[in-house]
């Protein structure tokens, strides 16, 4: 190791590396004997070098913690088992359990039907998700690990006033062959993501095509690969890996519907030749690898939005709106931050939300805001409060602060015409219904009378469902 170094002392007069290299080569036979007279440390060093030659190949790097016992007993090492493999922790964190065999089945809970969610008479009823829909929702990642599905026998949801409002808006828009563009806004734990799930369940039951972005964070926090799309001005960026994953989930979740609708144009830019009039499923199947996934998605989107074609209604949903209403963490080749709306997939969603995209047979674009994991998006907050004021016909529409720098013109324009559905706490009868469901499942050890319901309703800040769960379900009372 250091023998060549000590030999380099000899070679110092000439500065060229070639000479020193040749010297080290020529002296390599003399290494031990020759180096010693010229260096005080060479003898020791050479022995190390010798040792390293004879050393056995190093033990493979082993992760996991070792506990050293005692101060002087150096050899005693207690192994604490194997460290989890890469991705194992995340898989555990993201694991979704939809059933609990220890919970009691609730007899009176009906299965959700295609028209259940738009009927006003069903407000305050708990309905269970059919098995097929459960599978579809699981594929599209509509269930979240933080929701307490794992406590009950069968995944069921409460039909609340906001559900009926939202679904009837969707149905009304589809009836007029238009697009319902909604933003779900509300306090923390009020059930915005669950409303999104209900919208999807309704769409699946009615044969819509559903595209769901479970967490917008993944799109803009620079955790998935991106590349500029050639021939775009201003430059747009595609996220092929993410889009491939999304295409696969779209394919799996909407298999039945997609196999029945057919392409209306040929797409020469695709890696695989898809003739006209072949099912959309075949088009999606063309995306086998991340390379070319964006062009497949682009083609799919063109097919879905092709005017005058026979297409089912389309539901496009996204959770965590604030993440796509800001400047992303991606950087352009000039090392400037990329605006989220310059990411092509995000742009697709935003244009749909803006109303620039027309679905041939109508549909809905729904975005839910998140309160627990949301970056600051002042423009979005302002736009939402403005839309709410406009909808309530409030004469005092909130104005932007003229001396605040953080506003974003593009965000404001993208949310100019959306409709905001304010999600609040549930009403008292709805709370009673859901608590009866909990008690009948054997999870709430109490008699559900008005006193109990009022107590939990008040404790949860006026029927905030997540807080009600916290007050009644997630605390140990045995």
């Amino acid at each position: 190791m250091s023998a060549p170094n000590s030999l380099r002392c000899l070679a110092r007069p000439s500065t060229s590396n070639a000479v020193s290299a040749s010297l080290s080569l020529s002296f390599s036979g003399l290494r031990i004997g020759a180096a010693a007279p010229f260096s005080t440390t060479s003898a020791r060093d050479s022995s190390i070098a010798k040792k390293s030659v004879n050393r056995e190949p190093a033990a493979p790097y082993r992760a996991g913690k070792k506990l050293k016992i005692g101060k002087f007993k150096k050899n005693k090492v207690v192994e604490r088992g194997k460290a989890p493999l890469p991705g194992e922790r995340k898989a555990y964190r993201k694991k979704i359990v939809l059933t609990n065999d220890n919970a009691l089945p609730v007899k009176w809970v009906q299965e959700m039907g295609p028209n259940h969610l738009q009927d006003v008479n069903n407000v305050g009823k708990v309905v269970s998700l059919p098995d097929a829909v459960q599978d579809q929702l699981r594929i599209s990642e509509a269930f979240q690990p933080s929701q307490s599905w794992k406590m009950f026998r069968k995944p069921s949801t409460l039909i609340r006033e906001e559900t009926v409002q939202m679904v009837s808006k969707m149905e009304k828009a589809v009836g007029n062959k238009k697009t319902a563009r909604l933003v779900l806004a509300g306090d923390k734990l009020t059930g915005k993501s669950l409303l999104l799930l209900q919208a999807q369940a309704h769409a699946y039951l009615n044969g819509w095509i559903v595209i769901h972005v479970p967490d917008a964070q993944e799109l803009t926090t620079a955790c998935t690969e991106y590349a500029p799309i050639p021939d775009t001005n201003p430059v747009q960026y595609m996220q092929q890996n993410y889009v491939l994953k999304l295409l696969q989930s779209i394919k799996k979740a909407n298999e039945k519907v997609l196999s029945k609708i057919f392409t209306v144009s040929s797409h020469p830019e695709l890696p695989q030749n898809i003739p006209v009039n072949s099912p959309l499923l075949a088009l999606i199947n063309a995306a086998k690898e991340a390379e070319g996934a964006w062009s497949v998605f682009h083609a799919l989107w063109q097919e879905l939005t092709a005017q005058n074609a026979n297409r089912p209604p389309i539901l496009f949903t996204l959770d965590g709106l604030a993440h796509i209403m800001r400047i992303s963490d991606y950087r352009s080749p000039a090392f400037e931050l990329i605006h989220s709306h310059d990411l092509s997939f995000v742009r697709t969603f935003v244009e749909a939300l803006q109303g620039k995209t027309n679905f041939p047979n109508g549909g809905a674009v729904i975005a839910a805001t998140s309160r627990s994991n949301a970056p600051r998006a002042p423009s979005m907050e302002l736009a939402i409060s403005q839309r709410i004021a406009e909808q309530e016909k409030n004469p005092e529409v909130p104005k932007s602060d003229p001396y605040f720098k953080g506003y974003d013109e593009r965000v404001e324009s993208s949310l100019k015409t959306v409709e905001v559905l304010k999600v609040k706490g549930v009403s008292r009868p709805e709370a009673r219904s859901v608590m009866e469901y909990w008690a009948a499942s054997g999870l709430l050890r109490a008699t559900v009378d008005e006193h109990q319901v009022t107590e939990k309703w008040v404790l949860s800040g006026g029927g905030v469902l997540g807080e009600m769960e916290r007050a009644a379900l997630l605390t140990m009372r045995i």
Partner: protein, 386 residues
């Protein structure tokens, strides 16, 4: 006592053996304790003399040690003689002014009687003898600790036995109580006799008129001088000023900048630039006038600039909601709601529709006893598990 002794010592210092600094010779005769010194008056002069002497010694090749002797005179006559003698020499030890002064004063001395001259000499001798002790320099003792042995001649009181109670007075606390009582009575007298007289100075409160929009605040320290008593603060509301349009009013607010409080809608300015209160007030008045004129100036209305309120932090004070007050109506409403709740529960209970978690579990357990016979093979998920 001590101070008198000090004065005496100071008087006599001039005649001390170690003379270094001398009072000017012009004050010679007036005082009896004045020394009649042969050395010249000023240090500078003295120094020059010494130099001169040294040079002379060098010229003569002498190696004499310089010796400056001190001469004491028993009376002014001896001094005048000495001065006259000196003035005849080539290098006199006295200045010309001294000589002149001595010549003028000689007449006075000569006018005195012989016995008077004698008396003066005697008095000087007795004073010197008496002051000898005082003039002796106090030497610090080597082994003393903080000079504890030293007598403090400047101590004012005799500290021994000073605080002893002689049984001829009330205690200090009693004196305190009496003092307190006297104070009460003093203020009671003021309240009874002097306060009513203040009523004649009372003025009726008149709310400010429509055109009196400026509200000034002054600071008084009750006649004491204070650097802040010149400060004047003016407050006014832009909407109170007559004859301004909305645009002009907004321009006035924008001109005031951070001095505008958007919550109270008031402009507040202060001035302590000038020495007197009145000057500061005049300046503020002029400034307000100038601002109003500028606001009325139509060349630039500032309409394109939004009002900046970043300097102000708006505070929201939560108030008890009106709807939450328990009025009789509200009470009745609540009572009705509770009755309705009880009715709902009662009907459900009668119909057997009231859900009870504990009962549900018990029922399931009872049912489960029968169904438990179904065996699930190991490693196989139970049916229906997703």
């Amino acid at each position: 006592m001590a101070s008198a002794a000090n004065a005496l010592r100071l008087c006599l210092r001039t005649t001390s053996q170690t003379q270094s600094l001398r009072a000017p010779a012009s004050a010679v005769v007036a005082s009896t304790s004045r020394s009649f010194s042969a050395t010249p008056a000023q240090c500078g002069k003295n120094y020059i003399d010494r130099l001169r002497k040294r040079r002379k010694n060098k010229e003569h090749g002498q190696n004499e040690v310089e010796y400056e002797y001190e001469q004491n005179f028993n009376n002014p006559g001896e001094y005048f003689d000495y001065v006259a003698r000196e003035s005849q020499k080539e290098y006199p030890k006295v200045s010309k002014e001294e000589v002149k002064l001595a010549e003028t004063l000689r007449g006075d001395w000569d006018a005195l009687q012989q016995d008077q001259r004698y008396e003066l000499g005697q008095r000087r001798k007795t004073i010197s003898a008496q002051a000898a002790d005082l003039r002796r320099p106090v030497k610090a003792k080597r082994d003393s600790f903080w000079n504890e042995e030293e007598q403090d001649s400047e101590y004012i009181t005799e500290e021994i036995g000073e605080d002893d109670f002689e049984e001829d007075d009330i205690m200090a606390m009693g004196h305190g109580k009496l003092e307190e009582h006297r104070e009460f009575r003093e203020y009671a007298r003021i309240a009874v006799w002097e306060m009513p007289l203040l009523a004649q100075f009372a003025k009726k409160f008149e709310p400010p008129a429509q055109d009196q929009v400026l509200r000034f605040r002054y600071t008084s320290y009750m006649g004491e001088f204070h650097p802040a008593d010149r400060k004047v603060v003016v407050e006014f509301c832009p909407t109170d000023i007559q004859g301004l349009t909305q645009v002009q009013r907004e321009k006035l607010m924008k001109l005031a900048g951070p001095r505008y409080n958007p919550e109270k809608k008031v402009i507040k300015m202060s001035c302590e630039r000038f020495e007197h209160q009145a000057q500061n007030k005049r300046y503020l008045g002029d400034l307000v006038q100038k601002m109003i004129e500028a606001a009325k100036d139509p060349t630039d209305t500032f309409a394109d600039i939004p009002l900046d309120t970043r300097h102000h932090k708006f505070t929201v004070k939560p108030k008890f909601p009106k709807e939450w007050y328990l009025t009789p109506e509200r009470k009745a409403q609540l009572e009705a709601e509770r009755k309705e709740m009880m009715r709902i529960d009662q009907t459900k209970r009668l119909n057997g529709a009231l859900v009870d978690g504990v009962l549900a579990i018990e029922a399931a357990k009872a049912a489960g006893m029968e169904a438990e016979a179904v065996m699930i093979p190991r490693g196989q998920a139970p049916p229906g598990r997703r």
